[in-house]
């Protein structure tokens, strides 16, 4: 591939595509939220069953916790690979706390630097966030050692990426098996979303380790591809199942809490 184009892929991702994908994301999110307002209508309400404030607070916690307990009882594999590897240990800390990402987010949104104390280093044998530190020309004089101490053996981007990729692979495999059984709720969009995630993780891993070669051209091409794919995800987020992370999960569980625990008083 020509040198200029590869250089441009990175620049394109940082300076051109990002504002575009962010705009699509904001417009899409506004559209999705607007639809809820459009369908909203006020009506008379029933008498609520009063279980007291403590009962409601307990109910709120249980509303979020009980599906996890159910998953532990009935869907162990999905709990391990889907929720733990992919979400809790994988994507969430990786996206928001990986030191390289904090550098990027801080560049866009300076207050994000508040998360530096929780930053996760790249690898287990590098408990210092030195690499990220040198990428941070705007902020000086911070302690660059990881707050996580011995936990860094687990809380490092390399390990979390492997967990995430294992999680994505499991989900893809699970959906292939279900599709082969003729289960109709498995759709092309499910595969597209998971493959996109997998590619983002793969290119991120390659970029962070300067693979497949150490030269600047390849590095910028791989990192550019990683960022472009992540920006594609950002742009399609309001229109795909990724929306659950922004809205669906929170609205759904809060509504369930209101409906079952607050209104009906179920315990």
């Amino acid at each position: 591939m020509p040198y200029d184009l590869l250089i441009d892929l990175y620049s394109l991702a940082i300076y051109n595509v990002f504002p575009l994908s962010l705009t699509i994301f904001i417009a899409g999110s506004t559209y999705r939220l607007f639809r809820y307002l459009r369908f909203w209508r006020r009506g008379p309400r029933p008498h609520f069953r009063n279980r007291g404030i403590l009962g409601r607070i307990k109910g709120l916690a249980l509303t979020f916790i009980e599906p996890l307990i159910d998953a532990l009882k009935y869907n162990k594999l999905d709990l391990v690979f889907g929720l733990t590897f992919l979400h809790v240990l994988g994507l969430i800390p990786l996206i928001f706390l990986f030191s390289h990402h904090i550098v990027f987010f801080e560049y866009i949104f300076p207050p994000y630097s508040l998360l530096w104390p929780l930053a996760i280093p790249l690898s287990p044998n590098q408990a210092y966030i030195t690499e990220a530190y040198y990428l941070r020309p705007l902020v000086r004089g911070i302690d660059t050692s990881s707050i996580w101490g011995p936990l860094t053996i687990l809380l490092n981007a390399d390990f979390l990426t492997v967990l995430s990729m294992a999680g994505v692979t499991f989900k893809i495999g699970d959906k292939i098996v279900k599709k082969m059984k003729g289960i109709q709720h498995i759709r092309i969009g499910d595969f597209a979303a998971l493959i996109l995630l997998f590619l983002i993780l793969l290119f991120g891993f390659l970029a962070a380790h300067h693979l497949p070669s150490n030269d600047v051209v390849t590095y910028r091409a791989i990192l550019g591809t990683h960022i472009l794919l992540a920006e594609a995800l950002l742009a399609i987020l309001p229109f795909t199942k990724f929306w659950h992370f922004m809205f669906g999960y929170w609205y759904g569980k809060l509504h369930e809490w209101y409906d079952l625990r607050v209104k009906r008083g179920a315990e």
Partner: protein, 442 residues
């Protein structure tokens, strides 16, 4: 009355448009925020029969319609985005099968990481099918009966017979529609037809409680359109009830039926009749719980348990009360491994318990006139088979508890648990809460 099933594209389109008009933010959330994780699957009593009966897979039928109607991608490239219309009879039959493999228990609602109530979506699917012309004859018959409000002679006779059994306890003539009463006890039509003794026992309980109560002059079929998603029928019968209660100036409706009727009246009535409801809705369990300190029980060591009907417990919020009452009565109370919000559904809710040959015959013996086509007979045969298999999980739960007497309060649960005991064991006695309590209250 014979309901032939036949497909018309025009009817399908109109039916779908009617559904689209009913969408509110909560339904919109159910329709568009599922991520297909299938965490809901093991919640469903019909899932162990076939994997495709998982709530997410059944509800996908409604999502396909929604995508076609209300999403840009679905309108432009339907197949690619899994957006479809109901195009022909084959589509309807596939959907019909899914629609009647659900007891609307809402266990999937609490197990879903996104709070999606697939059971509520199935009710909408049933409504779409009904408006195309497809619904089980018996359930349709009951819904129409409810809409018209005119009960056949045989039902009225049954009501008279039932009331005659309490004549030694109360003066039935003076109690009927008594002015100035605080409470009106309204038995359900299903209780009257299948468990009239529950009505007798509840009346006996009420007579012991020193309350100002009354009963209607004739039985009421209420909200039975819900079984087939017939919202017009539900609305009509609820409006009639609301006007009736307002005319009598009653403060409280009391139910002994802990099935679909309880949450419908308790929590959906204001929305259905579109006005604030001033009177309260209570269940006999709540009435006794509120007076627990005043009651004196004959204590026992019987191995009893409480089967929480999904509608009274999970969807009605009456979860703690029956346990506290029954634990006070028996020192050998066995709590089911899955109870309250976690309770395993018996599989008989949502009208499923009525979709058997035996129940059809039972109604026919009462002289209720409806006929079933051969096509429907085939559907019925498969549905009954699935219903019977759906009971297994619940029976295992009861077996694990070691209980010998299962107390509950929903007629569908009662008939389903009795059937489950016969089919799979353990050998148990199934009894309504009122019938058990009347024998242990001093």
């Amino acid at each position: 009355m014979m309901s032939e099933w036949s497909f018309e594209v025009k009817k399908a389109r109109m039916s779908i448009r009617r559904f689209i008009r009913s969408i509110n933010p909560v339904k919109l959330h159910y329709l568009e925020n599922c991520v297909s994780c299938a965490a809901c699957a093991s919640a469903c009593p019909y899932y162990p029969i076939e994997e495709r009966y998982s709530p997410v897979n059944k509800a996908e039928e409604l999502r396909k319609i929604y995508r076609k109607e209300l999403t840009i991608a679905g309108k432009i490239a339907g197949n690619l985005f899994h957006a479809y219309e109901i195009r022909n009879e084959n589509d309807v039959k596939r959907i019909l099968e899914f629609a009647y493999r659900c007891s609307n228990c809402s266990r999937c609602y609490t197990m879903c990481p996104f709070g999606i109530d697939s059971g509520a979506m199935i009710v909408d699917i049933r409504g779409i099918l009904l408006n195309i012309g497809y619904a089980p004859s018996l359930l349709r018959f009951l819904s129409d009966l409810d809409m018209r409000g005119e009960l056949p002679e045989s039902i009225l006779k049954l009501w008279e017979e039932t009331l005659s059994k309490v004549k030694g306890i109360i003066d039935t003539e003076s109690i009927v529609e008594r002015k100035g009463s605080d409470i009106i006890y309204i038995p359900s039509l299903i209780e009257l037809v299948f468990y009239p003794e529950v009505i007798v026992d509840t009346i006996s309980l009420l007579s012991k409680l020193n309350l100002k109560w009354t009963i209607p002059s004739k039985p009421m079929g209420l909200g039975m359109g819900m079984f087939i998603g017939d919202f017009s029928s539900v609305k009509t019968s609820m409006k009639k009830l609301n006007n009736y209660i307002k005319r009598l100036e009653i403060k409280e409706i009391l139910l002994s039926d802990g099935g679909y009727l309880y949450p419908m009246l308790r929590f959906s009535l204001p929305e259905i009749v579109n006005e604030d409801v001033k009177y309260m809705i209570t269940h006999i369990v709540e009435v006794l719980y509120d007076r627990l300190s005043m009651l004196d029980f004959i204590t026992t060591e019987e191995k009893i348990t409480w089967h929480s009907p999904c509608q009274l417990g999970r969807k009605g919020g009456v979860t703690r009360e029956p346990l506290e009452i029954l634990m006070k009565i028996s020192s050998n109370f066995r709590r089911l491994p899955h109870d309250g919000l976690e309770a395993i559904c018996c599989g008989g809710g949502g009208g499923m318990a009525l979709l058997t040959r035996e129940k059809y015959d039972h109604f026919r013996k009462l002289g209720l006139g409806f006929e079933v086509s051969e096509e429907e007979m085939l559907f019925m045969r498969d549905t009954e088979e699935a219903y019977k298999l759906s009971i297994r999980e619940k029976m295992r739960d009861i077996e694990r508890s070691g209980a010998e007497i299962v107390i509950t309060s929903c007629p569908f649960c009662m008939m389903t648990l009795e059937l489950g005991s016969k089919l799979y064991g353990p050998s148990i006695k199934v009894i309504h809460f009122s019938s058990y309590l009347i024998n242990v209250i001093k």
